[in-house]
Each structure stands twice: as structure tokens, then as C-alpha cells.
């Protein structure tokens, strides 16, 4: 190393050192490191870590570095109360940005209101959660279901649908929206069946499906085991109807192997998005985490963009004052792996949705994209 280069690197260290010496802006990430979300949570944390590292490398926000506080919410209400309490009142975080279960989110919201802390929720969910402190940059049923049903109606000439789900809020909520949408678009629902969340024996539902004369299936099970058992048993029973799955992600589809082939999924993020921003993001993730990388997905990428949305909002507001940041969050937009996203529709965001088909090798091929699908009236102002 030449002395000039040495000097330059000292200057660099001094410059970043001084930026990092400022009081950090703290980002709280309550996430399900244990429990139902534990499979996906590590990828969410990795996304947040990359965003924070990138922003700090460029001097932080308004000269202040970012610091992450990750807390385990146990994927449920009881754990979320502790996690939110600790983050807001002990760690005194400036903002919460996280992907969580609906139960954890609902348990955390009263604490968020008490602490008057902005909260960017980055998980897709059943919709209509309306707290003045809550912003959502992921999809709701109004955005996810239409691509699949429209495609089946048009390309597969589907008229009779059979719906299968797990018996819980997300499963029933998604399918009741799906049913209404199918009926609105001229189709008919010939069967709607549920198993308890831990149920694994779909035998009689599959026999009913085969007897129903349905020409398309839409499923919304709990993630993990129920999704896998249903798909395996459908395939074992020789069912090859067009199959839309509202609950499978790219990673699970990949590990299911041949059984997942031909499943249709609808998501706001798939790794195959052909854009410079996405390629740059994937390369940066690969470089930072190497062999430990958890495949980025529809639940982890919004976390990355959420951190950038907060950065933009703080810069627009000129500081971390919660009320000013909350006002700014609906006005700023983020150019991320999923495209340009602005949470300006009643604290929800129009999103580009991708209809994908799982291939025999487990990869997801994008069949069609639906730009800027509106989230609909999630939180209409009270009149």
C-alpha cells in the first residue's frame, strides 16, 4: 500500500468515524425468530442488516448512523407484547420496521400507540388494519387474488372453482375474498373446505374435489406442513387441475421438488424480477451473506425497502419527530427490488404483482405482471 493510499484510507476512516460517532437512529425489528415464522424470520433480519449497512456506508441518515435492535416476538401475541414493550420503552427505538404474524401485529399496535412510534409493517396480510401509526408496504387480498383468478378465467377457461384452506384468520379471510371475487367475475365456487391448522390428512377433501367437477383449485393453508401435505396428497391423487396457491413462497416451492411443479403463485416479489435494482440487491445480499444467505422472498424484500422508506421520510421531515415522519411516509417513494413503491393509498401501497408458475426444477417463471395493482379502500376516512 502506498503512503498516499494509506493516507486516503485514514481520511476515510476519520470521515465515517465521525458520522458514526453521532447519536444513532434506532430501528426496532420485532420478528418471529421462534414459532411459526421462524423459517422466514432469518431472511427478514438479513434484509434489514443489508439496508442498514448500505445506508451507514453512505453516511447514515442526516449524518446519523442507523442501529438495529432485533427482538423475538415468538410469532404470537404474548411474545409480541414483550418485544414491543422492550423495543419502545427500554431501547427507545425511533421506528419499528418488521414482518410479523397478524396476531403479533395486533398485539403490538396498542403499545405502538402508547409509545407514539411509527410502525412500517412489511408482511402481506388479510388487510384492513388501520392505526394512524401503521404503514404497510406489502400486499393485501385485493392485490394478490385477482391475478390468479383473472388468469384462470381467461387462459384456462375456468368456471368452477374449488377452494381449500386451513381454518384460521388468514386462510378463511383470503378464501372469502377469493370466493367473492370469483363470483364477481362470473365464476362459481363448487366447494369450500377447511382443515384445522395442524391437520395433515386431506383425503376426504381431495375425494370431494375430484367428485365436484371443479376445473380449478385455489388454496390458502397455513405455511409449512399443511401446504406441503396438501400438495403432496393432491399430486398423489393424480389431481392436475390449474392450481393457484395463495400461501406458498418461492423457497418452499423449490424444496418441494417435482410435486410443486405447475403451481401458480401471485407475489409482489420473485427473485426472477428482471430489473437492475433487483439484480443489484441480489448481488449485494450474496456478497454480504455468502453461504449463509437465506433466499430473499416476498416477506423479506419489503423489509429492505421499508428501511429505505423510513430513510426517505426522515430526510423529508428533517428529523425523527414521529408525527412529521408519519406525515412524510405517505409522500416519499422508494426505488427498490420490487420497483417504485409509495405508501400513499390510505397507508397502503399500490404494488406490481407477478403471476408465477413453479417449474419442474423448482424455479418460478413469471407468466405475467400486473403493474401498480391498487390495494383498494383499506382504511377509508371515517365520515
Amino acid at each position: 500500500m502506498t503512503s498516499r493510499a494509506l493516507l486516503a484510507s485514514f481520511a476515510f476512516v476519520a470521515a465515517t468515524g465521525s458520522a458514526l460517532a453521532a447519536d444513532p437512529i434506532r430501528i426496532g425489528v420485532p420478528v418471529g425468530l421462534s414459532g411459526a415464522n421462524s423459517v422466514v424470520a432469518p431472511s427478514v433480519v438479513q434484509s434489514a442488516e443489508l439496508a442498514v449497512e448500505e445506508i451507514n456506508a453512505k453516511g447514515g441518515i442526516l449524518g446519523r448512523p442507523l442501529a438495529l435492535d432485533v427482538a423475538d416476538d415468538g410469532s404470537g401475541a404474548a411474545g409480541a407484547q414483550k418485544a414491543f414493550d422492550a423495543l419502545i420503552f427500554q431501547k427507545k427505538v425511533n421506528v419499528l420496521i418488521s414482518m410479523e404474524t397478524s396476531a403479533a401485529r395486533n398485539a403490538g399496535l396498542p403499545i405502538v400507540a402508547r409509545g407514539k412510534t411509527p410502525y412500517i409493517y412489511t408482511s402481506f396480510y388479510e388487510g384492513k388494519s388501520c392505526s394512524p401509526y401503521l404503514y404497510v408496504n406489502a400486499w393485501v387480498p385485493e392485490q394478490q387474488v385477482p391475478p390468479i383468478v383473472d388468469y384462470f378465467n381467461k387462459e384456462k377457461k375456468a368456471k368452477q372453482y374449488f377452494l381449500i384452506g386451513s381454518d384460521y384468520a388468514f386462510g378463511r379471510g383470503m378464501l372469502s375474498f377469493t370466493k367473492a371475487y370469483i363470483e364477481k367475475t362470473g365464476g362459481k365456487v363448487v366447494g369450500e373446505e377447511y382443515l384445522p391448522m395442524d391437520g395433515s390428512d386431506w383425503t376426504s377433501i381431495i375425494s370431494k374435489l375430484k367428485a365436484s367437477g371443479a376445473d380449478a383449485i385455489v388454496t390458502s393453508t397455513a405455511g409449512g406442513a399443511p401446504n406441503v401435505t396438501l400438495t403432496k396428497q393432491l399430486r398423489a391423487a393424480g389431481v392436475s387441475l390449474p392450481y393457484g396457491n395463495l400461501a406458498v413462497d418461492e423457497g418452499t416451492a423449490k424444496s418441494m421438488g417435482a410435486d410443486a411443479a405447475d403451481i401458480y403463485i401471485s407475489a409482489s416479489y420473485v427473485t426472477g424480477i428482471d430489473s437492475a435494482a433487483n439484480k443489484k440487491f441480489l448481488a449485494a445480499m450474496g456478497k454480504k451473506f455468502g453461504a449463509d444467505l437465506k433466499t430473499p422472498n416476498d416477506l423479506s424484500v419489503p423489509e429492505y425497502e421499508g428501511v429505505y422508506a423510513y430513510k426517505a421520510a426522515v430526510e423529508k421531515a428533517g428529523g425523527t419527530d414521529p408525527q412529521k415522519v408519519l406525515a412524510a411516509l405517505s409522500e416519499v417513494s422508494v426505488d427498490g427490488p420490487r420497483g417504485t413503491i409509495k405508501m400513499d393509498k390510505q397507508r397502503h401501497a399500490p404494488l406490481t404483482m407477478y403471476l408465477g408458475q413453479v417449474q419442474a426444477d423448482g424455479g418460478v417463471k413469471v407468466i405475467q405482471s400486473f403493474p401498480n395493482v391498487d390495494p383498494g379502500a383499506q382504511c377509508p376516512p371515517k365520515s
Binding site: V39, E193, D201, T203, S207, V228, K232, R235, T252, S255
Partner: protein, 278 residues
């Protein structure tokens, strides 16, 4: 109608395979092995490891049996052996043992769902309907398990000692039967059968650390109703499994999932000896 009948018979076959290990332990030791679910899981993961090592499918099943039997023998020597005089404590201890095994599996393999490739895929045509080939194969597997099980019990020296211990342990001991060894071997075989059933259900089930638990209650209820013999276990699997399919098909699958437990409770209330000849 034929489909419902096939659903009923294949469900009964699966139930019989899964509960036979629990039955042999209950029959000999008069304790309920609540770690049964964990041994099912062990078998499925043994099949997973075997498949990753490139073993052919026919070898995965004995590998699973061996893994389950080894875990079972270890559990018998360290824990279960001390609890034969305290059947209620044994339920608690085996339940706890199941949790420990589940956590160990989680530590080694992680929480996520794993996949084992199925040996038979697709459907075959049977009497004019297409039906899952693997489920049909399970009927054969259940028959094999039942035949081997009864041959073991009725045709070998070990079976003779086992039956002697079941009938009258004191007398058997007096005649020189090493009842501690009989119990050890029986518990190992029961655990091995649980693991074998775990390997056999992998093509229809997910492989995750809690995969055995949904099967445990049904297996427990069937063993209680059967009263301890393999023949009555087959009968109760057929009757209650069939009822489960009928309720799921014609009423609602959520109630279908409760059918076995509720019917078993009713049967035991009306006829405490269950399906066994009194």
C-alpha cells in the same frame, strides 16, 4: 361411493400401521408411550438421512426401524424402566421425552419442512376410478406389518415369552423368563414400528419436527378401544377410520378430525373393554 370406500380402507391401513407400535408397548408394559409421536418423527428423519445418502427406498424402511429401535432401547434403559410401577408418571415422562426428542431433531435439522422423494407416484385405475397408487400400496404395507407382527408374537420364542409376560408377569418370572429383557426388546420393537410408520407416511406427510403429533391422539384412542390385541386394533382402525372418512366427506372435515376421539370415548363409556372380547 367406491372412492369413499377406498378412502376408508386406506385410512384404516395407515392408522393400523401407525398405531401398531403403540399397541405392542401398551400390551406388554401396560403403559402408554406418549413419545410415540417423536419416534414417528425419528423414523421420517432417518428416511430423510438415508435418502440423502443415496440409499434405495426399500432400504429406508429398515433403516428407519433400526433408528427407532435404537432410540427406543436407549429410552427404555434410561427412563421408562424406572416407571413400570407408575403408569401415570410414565405418561408424563414419555410426553416429556417426546418434547426432548422433538427439540433434538430441531437442533440437528432445523424447524423447516423437509422432503423425501416418494417411491411410487401417480394413480392407478381400480374398478374404474383413478386412485392414489401410494395409498393402495399402504394397504399391502399394513397387511405385511400385521402378518410379521403376529408371526413374531405367535411363532417365536420371544413372542412366547412376551405373551407369558402379558398374561402373568410374576408367573413368567417364576418360570425363568427374564421379564426385564422382554420389556426392553418390546419397547425397542414398538419404537421401531413407530419409526417405520414414520418412514412410510413421508410421501403423504411433511417431514418436520412435529409431524408425528397429529397422529398421536388417533393412535392412542385406537389402542384404548382395541383393548390390546392386533385383530381388534385392525377392526377398530377400520370402523373408526371409516367413520372419520364418512364424517369428513358428508359432514365436514373439521368434525371429521374429531371423529376418532369422540367415538372412542363413547365406545369406552358404553363398553369399557372396547372391541376386545371380554
Amino acid at each position: 361411493m367406491l372412492i369413499v370406500a377406498l378412502d376408508a380402507v386406506t385410512t384404516a391401513a395407515l392408522l393400523l400401521i401407525i398405531s401398531s407400535g403403540l399397541l405392542i408397548v401398551f400390551g406388554v408394559m401396560k403403559i402408554i408411550n406418549f413419545a410415540h409421536a417423536a419416534f414417528i418423527t425419528v423414523g421420517a428423519y432417518a428416511a430423510l438421512v438415508g435418502a440423502r445418502l443415496g440409499l434405495p427406498w426399500v432400504l429406508l424402511v429398515p433403516v428407519a426401524f433400526a433408528a427407532g429401535a435404537a432410540c427406543g432401547a436407549l429410552a427404555e434403559v434410561t427412563i421408562v424402566r424406572r416407571l413400570y410401577q407408575r403408569p401415570l408418571d410414565a405418561i408424563l415422562a414419555t410426553w416429556g421425552l417426546g418434547i426432548v426428542i422433538g427439540q433434538i431433531v430441531t437442533l440437528i435439522f432445523g424447524r423447516e419442512v423437509q422432503f423425501v422423494q416418494a417411491p411410487i407416484t401417480g394413480t392407478i385405475e381400480l374398478l374404474g376410478v383413478d386412485y392414489s397408487a401410494y395409498r393402495i400400496a399402504m394397504i399391502g404395507a399394513a397387511l405385511v406389518v400385521a402378518l410379521v407382527f403376529s408371526a413374531l408374537l405367535n411363532g417365536t420364542r420371544l413372542g412366547l415369552s412376551t405373551r407369558a409376560v402379558i398374561m402373568n408377569e410374576m408367573l413368567a418370572q417364576g418360570l425363568g423368563v427374564d421379564s426385564a429383557r422382554v420389556r426392553l426388546v418390546t419397547f425397542a420393537i414398538g419404537s421401531g414400528l413407530a419409526a417405520l410408520s414414520g418412514a412410510l407416511i413421508t410421501p403423504l406427510s411433511s417431514v418436520d419436527p412435529n409431524m408425528g403429533v397429529p397422529w398421536l391422539i388417533s393412535a392412542f384412542m385406537l389402542v384404548m378401544v382395541s383393548g390390546g390385541s392386533l385383530l381388534t386394533l385392525a377392526v377398530s382402525s377400520l370402523v373408526l377410520g371409516g367413520l372419520q372418512v364418512i364424517v369428513s366427506t358428508f359432514v365436514n372435515p373439521i368434525l371429521g378430525g374429531l371423529t376418532i376421539a369422540i367415538c372412542a370415548a363413547v365406545v369406552l363409556r358404553v363398553r369399557p373393554e372396547g372391541f376386545a372380547r371380554a
